[in-house]
């Protein structure tokens, strides 16, 4: 099995290939098989399955945000609210029309969120950088207000009870069953994202990110592609929202507040801007971080009982600290670190 130890490409097709070597393909399939086998091993631990499901659902929206922020260079502080749009749409539809197939709800949620995202993406025509960040912050605040006040649809602060998803005869009502649904969508989303960024729209996005004036000169219609990027990113957010709603069973506006948006941004920063694998690593890292912290604080709970009371504060502090440290010491994120490690082993033991 050939392992990559240099660049021996002779065609453009080779250069664009997803599987650079057979070994890479092998390891990826092994990884997917491991993911499928995972719930059978941890069948009895609802907690572990819950964390795994959260990661899988989170990965989808992280990929979406990375397409928007990492590949197109448009900052969005409203991703949490976009996820909320998807969640409420899907939840409301399935509650009001119980006979509607789940997949249809999911798709409608995705497209409606894409539409809302594109509306809030319109200012990106005129605004750049921090102005756009502030505009999307406004989107977040306004949508949150709608979630709280539009009681007839969203249930307000009391929350909306959402029925579990079902597909033909299978109802995804347990963590174990839901895992496979989430896994299927996470893999599908990764595949879509990977293919979007290596085809024409993806190249246009990157051109806009790197130098928008040059992009326009070589014939990339800026507005259309910026909107498309907002649309794709919000579509992913909508899918995440829908899955999350049907998984958790009750959704309240707090699930989609500004902290959620910040958390998603931190995932792509820590994972690596403009990297598909980075999005997955970032989502995994940031979902595991609070759980690991919780485990640690439980470990010391009998000696220092105050830890439990202060857990929220500690989590918040560590969360901020991780972002700050990553930005200062590894601004390209986990993906870059992973690449460095891989490159080291590529030529090992003759790495000089």
């Amino acid at each position: 099995m050939a392992i990559k130890c240099g660049i021996f490409k002779t065609t453009y097709e080779d250069d664009m290939a997803i599987w650079q070597t057979k070994a890479a393909k092998f390891w990826l399939w092994l990884f997917i098989i491991a993911l499928v086998a995972f719930p059978f091993v941890f069948q009895n631990s609802i907690y572990i399955l819950y964390v795994a499901n959260t990661i899988l659902i989170t990965v989808i929206a992280t990929l979406g945000l990375n397409i928007l922020t990492g590949f197109t260079g448009q900052i969005s502080l409203g991703h949490g609210a976009f996820i909320g749009v998807g969640a409420y749409t899907s939840g409301y539809l399935l509650n009001t029309y119980p006979n509607m197939p789940f997949l249809l709800c999911l798709l409608i949620a995705g497209f409606l969120t894409a539409f809302v995202g594109m509306i809030f993406g319109i200012p990106s025509l005129r605004l750049k950088g921090l102005y756009l960040a502030i505009a999307t912050l406004a989107a977040q605040v306004i949508l949150e207000f709608v979630f709280i006040r539009w009681r007839s649809v969203t249930g307000g602060n009391q929350g909306l009870l959402v029925r579990p998803a079902s597909f033909y005869r299978i109802t995804f009502d347990s963590d174990f069953k839901f895992y496979f649904l989430a896994l299927a969508f996470a893999i599908l989303a990764t595949l879509c994202a990977k293919n979007i960024v290596r085809t024409k729209p993806g190249r246009a996005f990157m051109a806009i990110r790197d130098r928008y004036i040059s992009a326009e000169i070589i014939g990339v219609p800026l507005f259309r592609y910026k909107l498309l990027s907002f649309g794709i990113s919000s579509f992913f957010a909508g899918i995440t929202g829908s899955l999350w709603a049907h998984y958790i069973g009750i959704i309240t506006p707090e699930h989609f507040n500004i902290m959620v948006s910040v958390q998603y941004l931190s995932m792509i920063i820590i994972g690596g801007l403009g990297s598909i694998y980075g999005s997955i690593m970032g989502a995994t890292f940031m979902t595991l971080l609070p759980e690991v912290l919780r485990a640690i604080s439980n470990l010391f709970a009998d000696k220092l009982p105050m830890l439990v009371d202060l857990f929220g504060a500690i989590r918040e502090g560590v969360f901020g600290l991780v972002i700050v440290l990553f930005l200062i010491f590894e601004p390209d994120g986990l993906a870059a670190r992973w690449r460095t490690i891989k490159n080291y082993w590529k030529l090992w033991p003759f790495s000089y």
Binding site: T69, Y131, I134, L265, S266, L310, A313, G317, L327, I328
Partner: protein, 294 residues
């Protein structure tokens, strides 16, 4: 009519505190081109520190007040030196995320030290309300506005006449030119953060005297955005006017819109205004227009 006047007055008071926080925000943006999402946490820090000095250590209010300002200035310098200095030249998104991360760290620390309950200042200002025309205004309000105005005037004079202030304006205008005139940019960045932290603390102490202190006060940091966008991101008079306008509009929406939407419009109206301003006049009332076709 009286209720309207009454809430107009409270709108102006809250608005003047917005103006103070916005002033710090604009200052940092103007001289260092950093958008500071941690402004609300700086405010919270000042409010809590002064409160502790007054209640736990029984220090007279005015001494505690100035001690807090010194501590706030040191905090600002420290943040700039430790976290912002390594980020010079990084893309905007990294810097925005850095200040968001800082906000999170500060909030966590404040929460650990001071807890999450609302704490109230002892009565510093006389409690008998004053009669102004047809309405009664509590004295805290008057002191707050007067205080805010004094601060704003002082800072305006500082920027106009002191050499440090002029140097800061020079850096804001053109970093390289300023550097070639012998101005130390690092020092200016430090001063900008120190001053921003100080004005945020003043705002925090004032609002703490009105409403009490709890961690939800850091929401002021987000409310600053509508104010500065309305006034123009890089304009100090704009920040002051924007803060006042947003404060008054909030108060008015409390009267006219709350009955229609079952309350809570105060939170969202400033941001709707923000979107409108961004759509029609993105550089605000007094901001420098960078004409550029996107």
């Amino acid at each position: 009519m009286e209720t309207i006047l009454q809430s107009l007055v409270s709108g102006i008071v809250i608005g003047s505190i917005y103006a103070l926080v916005a002033l710090g925000f604009v200052l940092i943006y103007k001289s260092t081109a950093v958008i500071n999402f941690a402004q609300g946490e700086l405010l919270l820090f000042g409010a809590f520190l002064c409160l502790t000095l007054v209640t736990a250590l029984k220090i007279p209010f005015w001494i505690a007040f100035f001690a807090t300002l010194i501590a706030a200035a040191l905090l600002g310098l420290l943040l700039e030196r430790l976290f912002l200095r390594p980020m010079i030249g990084e893309p905007i998104i990294s810097i925005i995320m850095l200040t968001i991360g800082l906000a999170s760290v500060l909030k966590g620390i404040i929460h650990i030290i001071w807890g999450s309950e609302t704490k109230v200042y002892p009565e510093v200002f006389p409690t008998t309300p004053m009669q102004i025309g047809p309405i009664l205004v509590s004295q805290v309000y008057i002191y707050s506005v007067v205080f805010a105005i004094i601060c704003l005037i002082l800072f305006n004079l500082f920027f106009r006449y002191s050499s440090a202030g002029i140097a800061m304006r020079a850096v804001a205008n053109d970093q390289q030119a300023a550097q070639s005139m012998g101005i130390s940019i690092k020092k200016i960045f430090g001063i900008a953060w120190a001053i921003a932290s100080v004005v945020a603390s003043i705002g925090g102490i004032l609002i703490g005297n009105i409403n009490g202190v709890n961690s939800s006060l850091s929401a002021f940091g987000l409310k600053v955005f509508p104010a500065v966008i309305l006034g123009g991101l890089d304009s100090i008079p704009g920040a002051i006017l924007g803060g006042l306008i947003i404060g008054v509009l909030e108060a008015l929406s409390g009267i006219y819109l709350d009955p229609l939407f079952e309350g809570g419009t105060k939170e969202v109206v400033p941001f709707i205004i923000l979107v409108i301003v961004l759509m029609i006049k993105p550089y605000g009332l007094f901001g420098t227009e960078e004409i550029e076709k996107v």
